[in-house]
């Protein structure tokens, strides 16, 4: 596994009509250590998705570079979008197999389907799945390619709390079995504390890093809401500038 360096000096959206050019990101430098689960926490609209799109090379109009172990390169990326982006004309299994592009990984896919409790639905078309199930398929698809970096853009947004919790636990179970470096975007601090090794707080306009904090709660205690709440309170009390951002 490899370290990944994100160095974005500037990302500017050009002027459109009456609107002036808008600097979305400035002086953003972040190193993701191999196997680390990093959560980016920031207010809505601060540029988190823009950052993920740059890292995924979907947006190449910026000043900066993405490096793997200090070499300029494009990491192999598994991206879990806010909207699952499954192909509606392919079944659950076909959606996963498509990104494998002919690589024989039937056993891996079976294992992941089982871990995410989707074996029964592998031959079903996405239109017949709930949003929570579609998100789980998107998670499997991202893990299946054995990526160097997993990007997750608020993958539990608009799920009801029990479903979000279930999908979160399944995600963690899969991640424990197949550890990858993760960059996870959220605006929910409790969710971030439950998942992350490290929290990166973002300030908006233009987006930059306002805080970099390691989560000290042992992983086996992360399901305990009181532990998470205590850590959250301690964090916010000790860092008023972060409290202001959220």
């Amino acid at each position: 596994m490899t370290d990944i360096q994100i160095d974005i000096r500037q990302k500017v959206y050009p002027a459109v009509g009456q609107a002036a050019p808008h600097a979305a990101i400035a002086n953003f430098e972040l190193t993701l250590n191999a196997g680390e689960f990093v959560c980016l926490v920031g207010p809505s609209g601060c540029g988190k998705t823009t950052l993920l799109n740059i890292v995924a090379a979907l947006d190449q109009d910026y000043d900066g570079e993405i490096r793997i172990d200090r070499r300029q390169a494009r990491p192999k990326i598994g991206y879990i979008f806010q909207n699952p982006r499954l192909l509606p004309w392919r079944t659950v299994r076909e959606n996963i197999e498509l990104v494998l592009q002919g690589r024989d990984a039937a056993e891996t896919v079976d294992f992941m389907l089982e871990t995410m409790q989707l074996t029964r639905f592998q031959h079903v078309y996405p239109e017949r799945l709930s949003l929570g199930m579609s998100r789980r398929v998107a998670i499997i698809r991202a893990f299946a390619i054995d990526p160097e970096l997993l990007l997750m853009d608020e993958p539990f947004v608009s799920l009801d709390p029990p479903t979000a919790r279930q999908v979160r636990e399944l995600l963690l179970e899969l991640w424990r079995k197949r550890p990858h470096t993760v960059l996870f975007v959220t605006h929910d601090l409790r969710e971030a504390i439950a998942l992350a090794d490290r929290l990166i707080f973002l300030s908006p306009s233009p987006m930059s890093i306002a805080g970099d904090i390691r989560v000290s709660i042992p992983r086996h205690l992360r399901q305990d809401e009181t532990e998470i709440e205590a850590f959250r309170r301690q964090l916010l009390d000790g860092a008023p500038h972060i409290k202001q951002l959220l």
């Binding site: 979907l58 982006r85 192909l87 239109e127």
Partner: protein, 248 residues
Amino acid sequence: MSKLQNFFPALSLAVFLAAWQGVALVLDSTLLPSPVIVAGVFWLELVSGQLAYHLGTTLIRLIVSFTIAMLLGSAIGLALGRNKNLDAFFDNWLVIFLNIPALVTIILCYVWFGLTETSAILAVVINKLPNVIVTIREGARALDQDLLDMARCYRLNRLNTLRHVIWPQLHPFMMSATRSGLALIWKIILIVELLGRNNGVGFQLHLYFQLFDVASILAYSIAFVIVIQGIEHTILKPLDKKSQRWRR
């Protein structure tokens, strides 16, 4: 659909034939032969092999020109739909070609390239091509950018992206271009054959027009309608059904 509704297509055909027979009996004119007479002529042409020969010739022209127009039109339409500069460059030409009367293209092709098979096919392709381009261009403009980004992010190769991400989205537009294409092309082919070929349904219609043989004209027209209906029910509809099976 209720059981009664299943019989409606056959019922409407029977009503039409009965009305035709009735009007033909009342008029008692060679300008409107009865369905029975037309059926007789149809049978004679069929057993003589003339119908199969001329219909087959026209069908081959239809298949060749349709295939060229669809392949070329899809490629150009996709390129124009995805590239704004290319679209701006060719847009006016597309409108011009859409509005050139079919007869003008056919005559010019025959004048410039001679009364040959190539000219005939070229004339049909030129007439159909703009329609395919416009339809597929709309489809390409409507492609879901989120799915294309997903394909890019997961590094799907070009072939897989085209086959599994783009093509299924273009399918409704392709079907629309196919149906309108068949309807348009066979009408143009008949004119092409009428003006410059010595075989095919168009040539036969021209011959029977000179002889004022309305029964034969109707027999050949009906034969072609049957073939087009056959294509619709044996190829297009099953294809449509298969490709749309994922919908609820």
